[in-house]
Symmetry: none
Subunit: 352 residues, 4 copies
């Protein structure tokens, strides 16, 4: 039987990823396109030739036909909208990050636990073929003991929508850490077997976008700049995390005065290691018979957004708990919060 779906927030991620995936799934039907900007909702109806436009998501909370909801709004809507739909008996797929803060994420988790409805987070890399190959290699012992992971997500100039929702802390909750870092840390945690974190130390910097008028860049995604807007989020982040598994260090930059883009994760094991180029392929480094081996696997990446949506729809029926469930993903929210707290206090944070 068909699952009727509502899309909340009709921006880029909804239009390029969620909506096409629902349309390709034979068991789903989009009933509502909701956006606080009426023209955005209307545009989606026309572009995709289905559903009806809604401005206020509360108008559809009680539509008994709706079973599933994708939340694709800016971060400040995630917690409240997800909780409202869960309490209205709907199943929710919420874009990453779970929320602006760990406290918000905990409330979302509480609502999930109390309602028993699905609450998955858009940690889409967990549905990526390459990432799952790496996870399996590590789990099967192919890397030996995984002792350290280094994640680099550094770009020379890539601040999104300067002065808009992405760069306003009260809306987004943070900058490069919460926007890019959440993906990188999620891959690290997933591949490492979601180890329990023990300590976090970090420093966040708001530097290159601060003087908005003088920010030099070649192109801007989620642009153009709004010089009358706000820029108060981190554009550089560094952190060190100890877990019950490997230690983890990260360096991330939306913008930096170093002219190289380095987007990769290094998994260091005592038998072998892996460098994963984010969103692309990976290399495996090992040694055998006195030779050093560099192995380049070829595989069909798969459509990870399709897998995410298909999995979400399937688990509504099956009750299966996916790796994107809030109970798993909330650990990353805890780490992000720890990094920001450590940066504010200038001290390491120790988790109980």
């Amino acid at each position: 039987m068909t699952i009727k779906v509502a899309i909340i927030g009709c921006g880029t991620i909804a239009r390029s990823a969620h909506i096409p995936a629902y349309l390709k799934n034979p068991n789903a039907e989009i009933k509502y396109f909701c956006d606080i900007k009426p023209e955005a909702a209307e545009k989606a109806v026309q572009e995709f030739g289905c559903g009806q436009a809604v401005v206020n998501y509360r108008d559809i909370l009680n539509d008994p036909e709706i079973e599933a909801v994708s939340i694709c709004t800016p971060n400040d809507g995630h917690a409240s909208i997800a909780i409202d739909f869960l309490r209205a008996g709907k199943n929710v797929l919420c874009e990453k990050p779970a929320a602006r803060t760990y406290a918000e994420a905990l409330e979302m988790q509480k609502a999930q636990n109390e309602t028993g409805k699905v609450l998955n987070i858009g940690v889409v890399n967990r549905f990526n073929k390459g990432v799952n190959i790496i996870k399996n290699m590590i789990a099967s012992g192919e890397l030996g003991e995984l002792y350290h992971v280094y994640a680099s997500f550094r770009a020379q100039r890539s601040i999104p929508g300067l002065g808009g929702a992405f760069t306003t802390k009260s809306i987004a909750g943070g900058g490069v850490l919460i926007d890019w870092g959440v993906h990188f840390l999620d891959i690290v945690m997933y591949c490492s077997g979601d180890p329990t974190p023990k300590t976090v130390s970090g420093q966040a910097y708001c530097k290159l976008g601060k003087d908005m008028e003088n920010y030099s860049y070649l192109n801007m995604w989620a642009g153009p700049p709004n010089y009358a807007g706000t820029y108060d989020v981190d554009d550089f982040i560094t952190a060190m995390i100890r877990t019950e598994g490997p230690s983890i260090t990260i360096n991330g930059a939306w913008a930096q005065n170093i002219g190289v883009d380095e987007m990769y994760i290094d998994f260091l094991g005592d038998k072998a290691g892996i460098r994963l180029q984010y969103g692309s392929d990976f290399k495996l480094y090992s040694a055998q018979n006195g030779a050093l081996l560099e192995t380049t696997p070829k595989f069909n990446m798969g459509d990870h957004f399709q897998n995410e949506i298909d999995g979400f729809l399937a688990c509504i029926k099956s009750g299966e708990k996916l790796p994107s469930h809030i109970d798993t993903v909330i650990v990353t929210a805890k780490i992000l919060q720890g990094i920001y707290d450590s940066s504010d206090s200038g001290k390491e944070i120790t988790f109980e």
Copy 2:
């Protein structure tokens, strides 16, 4: 008037760097080549056609003609030999690291302070043209506020003399951190204006060399391996340091299962940034008129070992305190100790 010099330890660093530099300085004359291996001392006498061979450095402590001493022994000799010569009224240039531990380094500093003789450490990069250009650029504000420095000293396979002095903790004091990291941290501290450290968090790993027989490698410097020896030092290190200036993160590997050698330091300022390729040139990244600029300086690197030795000899006469003085360099010893202590305790170390 000529300064008479004794060379203590006639290994690679003495023969390739210290001795040739003394021979080129018109005011210096090498009187003794000392090594506990008699054949090493003899070989130096013949190779360089001057001086006399000595086995026990105590035999020359009281030669009134000797004014200056270069200590080029393994790390376990640094503190005791330096202190003996200082107390005998000699001026000392001691190879890096200052000592195996911060406690030893403090005793060396104490002896220097009490005797008033010169005690310089072999932080040779402080005499390198490129490093000094970077230091000047930062001091003059060309980078704006320097907020973070990342140092990467990672090689796939480069453990020196497996099973020998370099890999035995009781001799060397540590592994990749104390051997390579000391140079990288020294450059970071020097260029950043020697800022006071506040916290240190680190993890050291002894992994790839541990199973010595099965360590695969292509070439070994300071080799060959001694499989009957000891391997109990760090071959991977990660750390995060907060200072009164920039925060600093490091990743270092004598050996890792990632097939790239990345030896560089990134200086991140809010106006401009620099990537220094260790032992080579650097690039400056900035922005102007809406363009992103990549600047490659060409300069005559100079002979930094010659500068170091010339500076040492000159300051014996002039009394000038060089940037390689124990009073400055000891801060790096404190940081190294902090990283090892943090790794042992699994917690951040806070300096008073």
Copy 3:
């Protein structure tokens, strides 16, 4: 309110540059495509889906709706057509060179001055981001005193349309100097602050295309060759120009028996210098702290044809005098004429 435009001449430059830029400007509408070849005008109407085809430009001189005209004909049409439209009260953007001779250019300027209508010349590089960065660097003193500029526009084989309009003096006014040199000299003049020229000495050679049948080439732009046509223009040019600012030397070849294409301009200042690769990026050379610096700027080049057209349309309303105004550009026409005159007389020309 919308500005109605007529395109006079529907060849390559019109179709690839002017027409698309007008179509992208929200305030412009193309009403006429005019070409003496009826099929060329018709083809434009169909290709761009707007406007109507005209053969004789005089038929639209008196259409009161037309406010702006782009002249994209061969050079022999520039002066007469521009003057006719100016006197009919239209604003004109005329492709480079302004005209075949300085005398013609002076008549165009006279018509502009008398009518008060806009007459801009297609010196499109003045709307190029990289060129403007260089101009600003020079104006702000970053190069110190700019004392010499060398422009090289030399190709091994690049005569356009052998035997056609480009190579017939009575139509084009000249060869490589008037076709390529006009762009290079225009950049030199613009970046140098449009200095007043004092003397010109030059030699023009008609050599490699002269024996048309035996001209060897790999590709021909604006081709194919018309062996029944005329070839009586310069394919090599050399000149030296003294100005109140820097001295300038040029070497240019549409064709030469040297197998390298060298298309660049060197700006020599006593503090720094720039080599601009024509139509591409540039490098800045300077010195600091004893190091020689090579700086490579990255920037978004921008669409200089779009900027040119947008600027033309805007200045019709605003009355702003753009750097492409005939009053500025005519100095280059004077220099070109001087070079040809000097070549004919074998003597330096001195301007009053």
Copy 4:
């Protein structure tokens, strides 16, 4: 019978080129090494194991045994010493340039004509195998009509002996033009068949070395700098020359803020062209059957200094007038003078 020779000036060019060549010629014997610095003369006697040291060249003017003299002093000595030896009945080989000024060169020529003794100038490239191949190709018509020659002798940083004889106008007569340009123009004239010059226009600039203390460089030949000395010569030169043969343009820099060294001569003919890399090999560019040909000749360069000295010694006996005779070479001195005069007056110079 052996020719007895005196070497006047025992600097680099004498010791590296003239003296070894005389020693290899079986018919020559060096009797005197003369230098106003006694230690330089003495050092030559010891280094080469022959001859006797002299301080004042006048002391050997009247030694009847001396037949031949090589003048290797700074430029200010060329004319007076050469004339003194000619009038004393000796044959003279004088290093390039002939003299500081054309007037001095004319007096040298007059003395030669009146005495009938040999006066050759050190235009050593006329004895270079590659240069002679090019000269023969041009003479035989292989390039067709040679219509233009462009000579580039531009280096980023190569001022010799800043503050010394090379950079002091009263001693050297000029800078990069007289020191490097003389060689390039000489090759151009020789290969082109020594055509009669008609007009000269040039500009000389004294820029990058002027502020001596702040001149940045990597290495200095004829160094080290003497900051108390004088720097008043051209470090950049540009000129255009019309002759009865090809037109010629030159750009030369001892120092420039462009980071490429370009040292070549382009010979442009209507059938073929040649790019000669100075001091190295050349490429021939031609066309045949619709193909563009690049030809790289390989040949044994030969020892041009040996050829020069051998030729000098032989012509003393044979009376043959070599291509290095003052009567030929003086035309280049006339051109150099014309360039400097044109630069001073800001106008083209016309020769009668």
